[in-house]
Amino acid sequence: MIRIAGLYKSYGSKEVLKNINIEFSSGKIYGIIGENGAGKTTLFRCIAGLENYRGEIYSDLKPLKDHLGLLFSDPFFFPKITGREYVRLLCNARGKEVPDIDASNIFDLPLNQYVSTYSTGMKKKLALMAILVQGNECFILDEPFNGIDINGSIMLTEILLRLKQSNKIVILSSHIFSTLSDTCDEIHILRNGDFTEVVEREYFDRLESQMRQAAVIERIGKLELK
């Protein structure tokens, strides 16, 4: 379980997160949506302990960071590291025995090649595979579906559902609504640094219609495309 109470985060005078209160339970998948710059990544970085903040983040996983699989939207890789070495590094870092990496290579990645030769989607698959191999209890996935091909997306959806079955906590953000509606138990809407709405699974269709109304009809209409 992760409980966030009264979380504030500012960069200089700009307040990015304002009084965030939320609880994430085991065996559930949480979707976080919000426009670009709404504060999703900052929230994830605060949970991971990568940012200083005001407020409280409590977890029964102690220390939380050592049980957390964190996937950034644009993972960083060293220029001359191979896929195999990257997975090994992440296992070494947590003191985990390095498993049979080839057997874990569910995405058929060329693990002996430099990661710099990988496509965007392959890099994301590698980063995902590494945090799965780490055997974490909680996963924060920032736009995990971006850049991944159709087969990869189908596999990722299945992986998320299996993590839920294994009683893990999964928090993810995505700009593709279907990826959230296929996996999440709840969707939390972040606007201007604050959670303004929580939508349960049975109301996902209504949320999608509302978003379509706001995006397509109201905004694109202003363009007066001919």
């Binding site: 302990g49 964190l70 960083f76 220029p79 001359k80 070495e85 990257y86 070494n92 710099s116």
Partner: protein, 314 residues
């Protein structure tokens, strides 16, 4: 003035601005920064000529060429290729290499090494046409693959340095020049220390389930172990052929290890920011006057632990 000349002028004014910003990021006035860099450059060059007058010009050529090759990285060249036409791109690369060449040329001119100076000019222009393709499919094998990442990544970037420096040691033995052998050892440590200069992305510190103390100790232990492995052939050869100077050889090795340790600690003492000018100067001073390591190393160690508390388990 042609569009191409304007483009080149603007490109170099931007490079100058970006360099100034980097120096400012170190918390230092750019003018002071340039003066300090110049002072360190002159000091190290003088030291090199003092240690081995015969080989110093060649080592200067070697260092200058490496710096110029760094500018031939394919990602840089791809950028220049996209932005400029071929002719302008070539001009820019020649000017860049000449800018790197100038300080080395001045040192060589002062030391009356006009033949080497002319050869280096030719090398500088030739290297402006070289492209270092980094997107090759071939993966360079490394003995450090089991414990990534600094030595595994660094070794692949500079693997060609090792046979060159080992060859230099063999030359030192053939010409009975101990100083040349010691310079090779110093260069080996300088390259291996360069693997630790740039602060890594914070994710690569955050992932470790360790305290700052265990993290730092493990980093230093691995670095010392790997550096010792890479230096061992040099030490064995030198001890075998310059046995009378075994104390000096072992002391030089110890200084190299201390320098490497200082670089690692200097990096983490300012983490996640880059190593600042004061830390950089203190690190160079450790190489020039090793006893000050007794103060510098513990100081950096405790500051590193403080800096890493934000990312690791306290």
């Amino acid at each position: 003035m042609t569009a191409s000349t304007n483009g080149i002028k603007y490109y170099f004014s931007l490079l100058f601005k970006m360099t100034n910003r980097r120096i400012k990021d170190f918390g230092i006035n750019p003018v002071v920064g340039y003066i300090l860099l110049l002072a360190i450059f002159v000091l190290l060059s003088e030291l090199l000529f003092y240690k081995s007058e015969f080989w110093a010009p060649y080592i200067i050529v070697f260092v200058c060429a490496i710096m110029q090759l760094e500018l031939s990285r394919s990602d840089r060249l791809d950028f220049l290729h996209i932005v400029f036409n071929n002719k302008t791109k070539r001009k820019i690369r020649i000017v860049e290499n000449l800018l790197v060449y100038i300080p080395f040329a001045i040192i060589l001119a002062v030391k009356l090494q006009f033949v080497v100076l002319s050869a280096l000019l030719a090398i500088s222009i030739i290297l402006a046409f070289v492209s270092l393709k980094s997107r090759m499919n071939f993966t360079i094998p490394t003995p450090f693959s089991k414990r990534p990442f600094e030595f595994a990544v660094g070794f692949r970037k500079t693997f060609w340095i090792f046979p060159l420096l080992y060859a230099l040691v063999v030359i030192a033995i053939c010409v009975s020049n101990l100083n040349l052998g010691l310079i090779s050892m110093v260069l080996l440590f300088a390259f291996m220390s360069s693997y630790y200069i740039k602060p890594e992305n914070e994710y690569y510190v955050w992932i470790f389930a360790e305290t700052p103390k265990t993290f730092i100790r493990r980093k230093v232990f691995n670095a010392v172990k790997n550096a010792t492995c890479m230096t061992l052939p040099v030490i064995i050869l030198m001890l075998a052929f310059f046995y009378a100077d075994f104390l000096l050889i072992l002391l030089s090795f110890l200084v190299g290890i201390t320098f490497l340790t200082t670089v690692i600690l200097a990096k983490y003492s300012t983490y996640p920011d880059e190593i600042g000018i004061p830390e950089g100067i203190a690190t160079v001073l450790v190489l020039l006057f090793p006893p000050i390591a007794l103060g510098v190393v513990p100081f950096f160690y405790f500051r590193s632990i403080d800096s890493l508390k934000r990312f690791l388990n306290d």
